[in-house]
Amino acid sequence: MTVLEERFGIPAAYQRIAARLMQLVLAGIAGYGLVSGQFGLVVNGTLPLLITFLPAVLRRDYGLPMNAGLTLWVTAAVFLHTLGMVGLYDAFGWYDQLTHVLSGSVVAGCGYAVTRALELHSDDVEFPEEFVYVYMFVFVLAFGVLWEIMEFSTEVGARVFGGRAYLAIHGVRDIALDFASNGVGAVVVALVVREVRTRFPAALAREMDE
């Protein structure tokens, strides 16, 4: 049962196929980079590809419930980012914001999972429901800062050691808009999670049992 299936009637099999297709394109980009000797393309194809396997690994090794929708969500976020690196970031001004909303939402999901897990498995930690939603937002913004610092460090590295930065910062406007779109992604996920939790108490009970 995923939100996509429930709300939009998209079967899980289609979601799985969509994720697979995106993985194929990522592998293709990495392969093309390797053949044509473009190191940047190899990195931007391979790393996201590895990330798309994360949900499956988590399911297999840790028995975490990861459904097709979740895999598609993560895959779509990194896929769109890679397409951006290949050229869409430069082609469309709004594309950066789109990917940041999506990746912000993925990070928010992770933040939610971590806080819930902490709360369920530790006696010292207790959060009221509303606090978790607020904290998701904080977590996403903090992760956004970490991300910008990572981009910045590749730029500083490029300045010190020469060469071109793999992840470039285009200006203050970009930084501010990135943070803002990350925040939008977090708010969207907080609203969705809230909706799901209030509408499906059974899922909540299962979660508590684990």
Partner: protein
Amino acid sequence: MFSWTRTETEIAVSWLLVACLVAAGAVGLRSGAYPMAVFALLSAGLAAAPAVFTRERRATLPWPVVGLAAVAALGQRFTQFDGVATYVWVVAVTLILVVDLQAFTDVEMSSRFSAAFVTTTTMAVGAVWTVLRWVSDAFFGTSYLGGVDPVMWELVGATVVGVVVGVAFEYGFHGVIDAGVERRLDRGERR
């Protein structure tokens, strides 16, 4: 590390520091230093919030926490270390928030989670602060943000300050604050 025996003195000191922050905010407003005024009034408001909401004069925050905010205010007014002072301030605001949450809401945090919370919140405040200043620059003709480099070094600074204070908080501060908070709750001062 801090003495919790002189409670009346401690409460008086805490209120005095809040008053200092309000004064700093007023000075900032009058001299046009709006970022400073915002931070000073915000930290004063958060520090006074528990007392205001519980209508209990004694429900102030531990003075070292309010003191950190006051030190940051002084630092920003009178020293050359503007950037550092700003993020000491951010951390102070975060600490105030953590203590507010722990002492006066149902939120319970382990010391490790508080440390992570202090660090991530400091970073998040850095992000929000950047966005607010950018909006002001873009739409109201101010020029708070100099360029990519100063903004990014500021965010790096915020992260470092957040990590340092977060770790210090986990190893030293948390127990003390907990003890103070527990003592207050024991004596029924929560309501």
